[in-house]
């Protein structure tokens, strides 16, 4: 009897250890599972590693995108084949699935190709996210052969990553009616929001490491525009951000919180609990108003 009990305890312990390993796979672990050769393509040298201090050496001018999320490290390698231009593989450890999704979401311009937990392919560039990892595979000149190689390498790397993860919870607050799903962008910092929709040079919305936000496009019968939702640590922070936003952008609408800008587009904003939400670039007043009211209804039932 005692032996059976010990065996059961032992089995549970082994399973727990294995489970913990599968959630803590590293770039090294993943890199080991990616073949150095496939379909005549050969890896050029070993993986190069970059961290937060050295990433700019690899992508001069573009590193800030990753640094604006919780980027931890990256592995980079090239594959070559005969006369074809090389394929560059970047695998980024973004610390969390939310941040991997965030980096992926800001530049979705192509087609979903069913790789990873979300993918985007356009003209020789494949991007996808899975678990806490974001992957970019690029061939500078797309041919039938290089495109096939990019997609195959993508599937190989997809298989090499065991972990999966959930996209940011804040996405579940987006109203479904009229949502353009490929337009959803997740961010933390105001530098990213400004690239999606420029608000102001200064961080009037008080965004930072502890905030999370989403912007999405909507098109409905009552108009078109963007919805912005930001979650703060406290209702007090959300209220302060609301005041900052109104003072910076629509100071004439302190009471109504809805205004038409000089380009003819409408802005409406509100804060409920820990959340700030705004209709931006709205083609019609009714659209902006309705979107705000919809968000009020959604957030009524949300705790924190």
């Amino acid at each position: 009897m005692k032996g059976w009990i010990m065996w059961i305890i032992y089995s549970i312990a082994v399973c727990a250890i294995m489970a913990s390993f599968s959630y803590s796979e590293t770039l090294h672990d993943i890199a080991k599972r990616i073949p150095t050769e496939f379909d005549g393509w050969r890896a050029e040298g070993d993986w190069r590693h970059y961290d937060r201090n050295t990433l700019f050496q690899h992508i001069d001018g573009g590193a800030e995108l990753y640094l604006a999320y919780r980027f931890k490290g990256a592995f980079v390698r090239r594959y070559l084949k005969g006369g074809e231009m090389g394929i560059t593989v970047d695998i980024y450890d973004m610390s969390s699935p939310e941040d991997a999704f965030g980096v992926f979401s800001v530049e979705c311009y192509g087609d979903e190709v069913g790789i990873g937990q979300g993918s985007d392919y356009i003209e020789g560039l494949l991007r996808f996210w899975k678990g806490r990892f974001f992957v970019s595979i690029l061939t500078r000149l797309e041919t039938d052969e290089s495109k096939a190689a990019v997609l195959k390498l993508g599937r190989l790397i997809d298989r090499a990553i065991s972990d999966r993860g959930e996209p940011p919870k804040i996405l579940s607050l987006l109203p479904v009616n009229g949502l353009k799903r490929r337009s959803v962008r997740f961010f933390r910092k105001h530098s990213i929001l400004n690239r999606i929709y420029f608000i102001a040079d200064k961080n009037v919305l008080r965004l930072g490491d502890e905030t999370e936000g989403v912007v999405a496009e909507y098109e409905r019968k009552d108009g078109k525009g963007l919805l912005l939702i930001v979650r703060y640590s406290s209702a007090k922070d959300a209220k302060a951000a609301l005041n900052g936003f109104i003072n910076a952008l629509i100071p004439e609408a302190k009471r109504t919180k809805i205004a038409r800008l000089e380009d003819g587009r409408w802005i409406a904003v509100e804060a409920v609990g820990q959340f700030l939400f705004a209709a931006l670039d709205a083609t019609k007043r009714g659209f902006a108003h309705n979107l705000i009211e919809t968000m009020r209804g959604i957030l009524r039932g949300v705790k924190g």
Partner: protein
């Protein structure tokens, strides 16, 4: 343009309100609106159908000829060597601030053309330095600078142009990237740079007009414009560069695809740092050579 644009909190509303910025932003901007009494800043664009061979390599002789025509027109002297003599003196220590971004570097043919004319103007070979990433140290003591780089879109600053090319004169260039590179003009006020630039050359042989992915480059988003732009004013030349990229983006995508808000470092360079002018009513664009597909 009002001084409101130099206040510390620049917002979307400011851009919408100010007509001069809107003119910078639109690809529909036409020619000089008013040829009034005020002297305008010249930007010279020269294009040649034979600037690139079938493999998209620059033709050295054509590049030299283009540079000569552009500089002659800018300086106002027919003889290009004499024109260069007005830009540099034999005793100058001349620094060529080039750009080595691997996907679209300054073509060697352009660098050679510059060197050739510097030597013709009397500058000894050992007094001509050239650098990009090490400019902070190697070019800091130069008495004259030639600023040259290809035009491209840039993930944070909207465009990589002549203003941004001097970012390597600081030891920590990455600090200028946040806030969409708004304070780039500040670099032009530093002692290692201020007042030294004799010529700005924006290479528009194969400009990059759109970028995606971590490397922000795809050959699909370059085109054979086959041009060179020169000016004494880096802000004006960049303002014209933005117009060119916006025009190409509208042509390619079939709709307005703005860079608008992320290029406001150009207006800051004008209004806050006084490096040059971004006001289109004060810029005279002179177009020479091949005009097909000029877009601006």
């Amino acid at each position: 343009m009002s001084d409101e644009l130099v206040k510390s909190k620049l917002t979307r509303r400011d851009f919408i309100r100010h007509a001069a910025y809107a003119a910078l932003a639109t690809s529909a901007y036409g020619e000089v609106l008013d040829s009034g009494e005020e002297k305008k800043v010249k930007v010279v664009l020269v294009r040649d159908e034979d600037a690139l061979d079938k493999n998209r390599n620059p033709n050295p002789k054509v590049i030299q000829s283009m540079l000569d025509k552009a500089v002659s027109e800018l300086v106002g002297i027919d003889d290009p060597v004499e024109a260069w003599r007005r830009l540099v003196k034999p005793k100058d220590l001349v620094g060529i601030k080039t750009n080595v971004w691997s996907y679209l570097p300054t073509p060697r043919e352009v660098e050679d053309a510059i060197r050739r004319r510097l030597k013709d103007a009397g500058v000894r070979e050992d007094r001509i330095l050239m650098d990009d990433r090490g400019a902070y140290q190697t070019l800091a003591n130069c008495t004259a600078l030639i600023n040259v780089r290809p035009l491209r879109t840039h993930y944070w600053s909207g465009i990589g142009g002549c203003i941004k090319n001097y970012i390597m004169f600081v030891p920590d260039p990455w600090r200028y990237h946040p806030d969409t590179c708004a304070p780039l003009g500040h670099v032009w006020t530093l002692p290692s740079v201020k007042g030294k630039t004799r010529l700005n050359i924006l290479v528009v042989l194969t400009p990059l007009f759109h970028g995606v992915g971590p490397h922000h480059f795809s050959p699909k988003y370059t085109w054979d414009y086959k041009g060179l732009m020169v000016s004494f004013d880096p802000v004006a030349i960049d303002a014209i560069g933005v117009r060119l990229l916006l025009a190409k983006r509208r042509e390619f995508f079939g709709a307005e695809k703005p860079l608008v808000y992320s290029t406001h470092h150009i207006i800051y360079a004008d209004k806050k740092y006084k490096v040059g002018t971004s006001d289109p009513s004060k810029i005279q664009l002179i177009k020479l050579g091949w005009l097909e597909g000029v877009l601006i």
